[in-house]
């Protein structure tokens, strides 16, 4: 289940902000994922969450320091993959 690091359809990132992938953070991912042509997932330990659902993502339980993988299902959504990964890397703009 673990994606290869150089897979074009997925990227692994570590959640750096203090509150982790909480409601407000998840709420920032949703509008990005909604623009995607196909489905976008956030994956933790092989468990997938729909990136258009705040609740599904929060249900993964990702506190600060968790490594997650962002996965797209259509190569055309590569920009969205990068944007979401970047958003996570910068801690959703939180301290």
């Amino acid at each position: 289940m673990k994606p290869t690091p150089n897979s074009k359809l997925s990227r692994s990132v570590t959640i750096p902000n203090e509150l982790g992938l909480h409601a407000r953070a998840a709420a920032k991912i949703v509008p990005l994922a909604e623009q995607a042509r196909s489905r976008v997932f956030i994956i933790k330990d092989g468990q997938e969450a729909d990136a258009t659902s705040i609740l599904d993502m929060m249900g993964l339980y990702c506190p600060c320091g968790t490594e997650v993988t962002v996965r797209i299902t259509d190569p055309a959504d590569i920009k969205i993959l990068n944007r979401i990964a970047r958003l996570i890397e910068v801690g959703f703009g939180e301290s």
Binding site: L19, H22, A23, R24, I54, L55, M58, P63
Partner: protein
């Protein structure tokens, strides 16, 4: 008339935001999401039922959008909560989940929504950490917005209130609290909630009195009932009689006048007219209270109760959880001193994580230092966390409920072991930390000279010391009047401890509710304590009073008080010396522990 029959009914809850309000009740009712009719719909109705649900979501969104648009300036910081509720309304797990329940299980929309919401709630309930798990309530609040539209009850229009009222509610969601027009609310009263709930935090930041956690206020109070809310004492009085009303009107007036005066000067040191300085610090149990400590001019934190992080969670906090918390506190307080008291609860409190038996007599049982010494793993994790945090600020450590010197010796040994293990692990920590004993058991009072050789400071915990020495459980109504902080026996014990500390040249503080009660202040000053520690909101009043007192006079007062035979004898002395102005003093005292 829809008035309650109860006359002058007094209810006790949690004083979550101080101040007094007198006014008419406004009962804010809502459908409870848990009582939902279950109906099976016919296959041909499915399409219509799904549509009905979609319409309800749409209306809920419109309603929420209006709320967000109309959020007053002072609440702008809280809008993000509503924004995420907005998304939750259309979240797949709720939205698609409900539609699926209607389609597959032939359920009515209300019931289908409940099934979908319950599934999500179950996921959150399983989570270990406080923050995430607490978000379960957001889902409930968001789903209620949909439910109200399904049921046709419409949103409860809290913004429609047209007169100044006291809001009485089972619980208030963030959406509801932000809609309330401040100028129309005199106070909040709720069945649920605690000091840390959203309503409590918001009420404090807006300086509106609030009493929460009353359990059955909504059952006992009806709209238009006259009521008094005392957010300082955590008391609510329903349909007060003339006498009570007059009493509270007077107190409210005096409190407001007094508060206006003292808060202006709360940052000045508590220095007597003859130049003696008393350190006035705060007792807190939540990191969030630090703001109140600063606002009220606390010289430091004299007692940080560390139980909160251990309670209400399935597993014990990790050393890292504790460290993060203590470090935050140390960093915020900077140079000001923070006294961390190690865990002061018994094994019976760890229902979920530690398998201890039920206590027959918890006050005399396995608790505080006794429990910690018998649970080295739990204790060491806390000791390590404190030592690590001490690296980042001015922290000292205090052991509670010491009844014999061996306990101090053992605790210090464990502290040394904790330091050695940190050293070995190469983690930064401060090993040279001041160690204190809490003096709250009568045996410790009489052995204070012996204990003083083992520690750097004493802190006299009067709440327990009074309870143990006078054999009074102050929660027991039948004997509560015998709980007397100014009992000559109590004063003699404090005096004895102070003398032992002075002989050994160590610091001595007092932390307990009596420190925040103005009538006790002259005596505490004259007992020559180095510091007194209290609820943050009592600090300005106490400092203000100290500035009006003479140290020499208060020492003379104590000299005479120690010879008194009764509490009333002590009280008479105080009134002789300072007049009747202390009559209202107990009022300024903060609520509960």
């Amino acid at each position: 008339m829809a008035h309650s029959t109860a006359k002058n009914l007094s209810l006790q809850g949690i004083g979550a935001s101080p101040g007094i309000a007198v006014g008419k009740a406004y009962l804010f009712e809502r459908e409870d999401v848990d009582v939902i009719e279950k109906r099976f719909i016919r296959p041909e109705e499915i399409g219509a039922e799904i549509n009905r649900f979609k319409q309800a979501v749409k209306k809920a969104q419109e309603h929420l959008r209006e709320i967000i648009r109309d959020v007053p300036e002072e609440y702008r910081d809280h809008v993000y909560i509503l924004d995420s509720h907005m998304m939750l309304l259309k979240d797949k797990m709720i939205y698609d989940g409900t539609i699926e329940q209607i389609r597959r299980k032939n359920l009515n929309a209300e019931r289908a929504l409940k099934v979908a919401v319950d599934k999500v709630k179950a996921i959150f309930r399983k989570m270990p950490e406080g923050y995430f798990r607490d978000r379960g309530s957001d889902i409930v609040h968001a789903s209620k917005l949909i439910l109200e539209n399904l049921l046709g009850t419409g949103p409860s229009k809290i913004s429609d209130i047209d007169k100044r009222v006291i809001i009485v509610a089972h619980d208030l969601s963030p959406a509801e609290t932000t809609q309330i027009q401040l100028e129309k609310v005199k106070a909040f009263v709720t069945d649920r909630g605690s000091h840390t709930s959203h309503t409590g935090i918001m009420a404090r930041s807006l300086a509106i009195p609030a009493v929460l956690g009353l359990a059955d206020a909504t059952q006992l109070i009806q709209t238009d009932d006259l009521m008094i809310v005392d957010g300082s004492a955590g008391t609510v009085i329903v349909n007060p009689n003339e006498q009570t009303l007059t009493q509270y009107h007077d107190r409210k007036e005096r409190l407001e006048e007094h508060q206006a005066k003292v808060t202006r000067t709360s940052h000045l040191p508590a220095e007597t007219t003859d130049g003696h300085r008393l350190t006035v610090t705060a007792n807190i149990e939540l990191l969030e209270e630090v703001v109140a400590v600063m606002d009220h001019g606390g010289d430091g934190i004299g007692l940080y109760r560390t139980e909160f992080l251990y309670l209400n969670r399935p597993a014990l906090p990790s050393e890292q959880d504790l460290f993060d918390n203590y470090r935050d506190l140390a960093e915020i307080m900077g140079a000001r001193q923070v006294t961390i008291r190690t865990l002061d609860i018994g094994g019976d409190k760890f229902a979920a994580s530690v398998p201890w038996g039920e206590e027959m007599n918890p006050a005399l049982g396995l608790r505080a230092i006794r429990f910690c010494l018998q649970s080295p793993e739990i204790f060491k994790a806390q000791l390590r966390a404190i030592l690590r945090a001490a690296y980042f600020g001015n922290i000292r450590i205090m052991f509670p409920m010491i009844s014999q010197v061996e306990e101090i010796i053992q605790a210090k040994q464990m502290l040394r072991e904790a330091a050695a293990s940190l050293d070995k692990a190469g983690l930064p920590f401060e090993g040279d930390i001041q160690i204190g004993a809490m003096i709250e058991v009568p045996s410790a009072v009489f052995m204070a000279d012996v204990l003083a050789k083992e520690v750097d400071f004493f802190s006299i915990g009067t709440n327990d010391l009074i309870q143990y020495s006078l054999a009074i459980d102050r929660v027991n109504k039948h004997v509560a009047q015998l709980y007397q902080p100014l009992h000559p026996a109590v004063l003699r014990m404090i005096h004895r401890v102070v003398q032992a500390a002075k002989t050994a040249k160590i610091q001595v503080a007092l932390c307990g509710e009596m420190a925040g009660d103005l009538i006790n202040v002259p005596v505490l000053l004259g007992l020559e304590l180095d510091a007194i520690s209290m609820n943050p909101i009592s600090i300005p009043g106490v400092k203000n009073l100290v500035r009006a007192l003479s140290f020499e006079e208060s020492k003379q007062l104590v000299h005479a008080a120690l010879k008194q035979a009764t509490t009333s004898g002590v009280l008479e002395l105080i009134q002789e010396a300072y007049g009747k102005s202390f009559e209202t003093a107990p009022f300024f005292q903060a609520s509960g522990e």
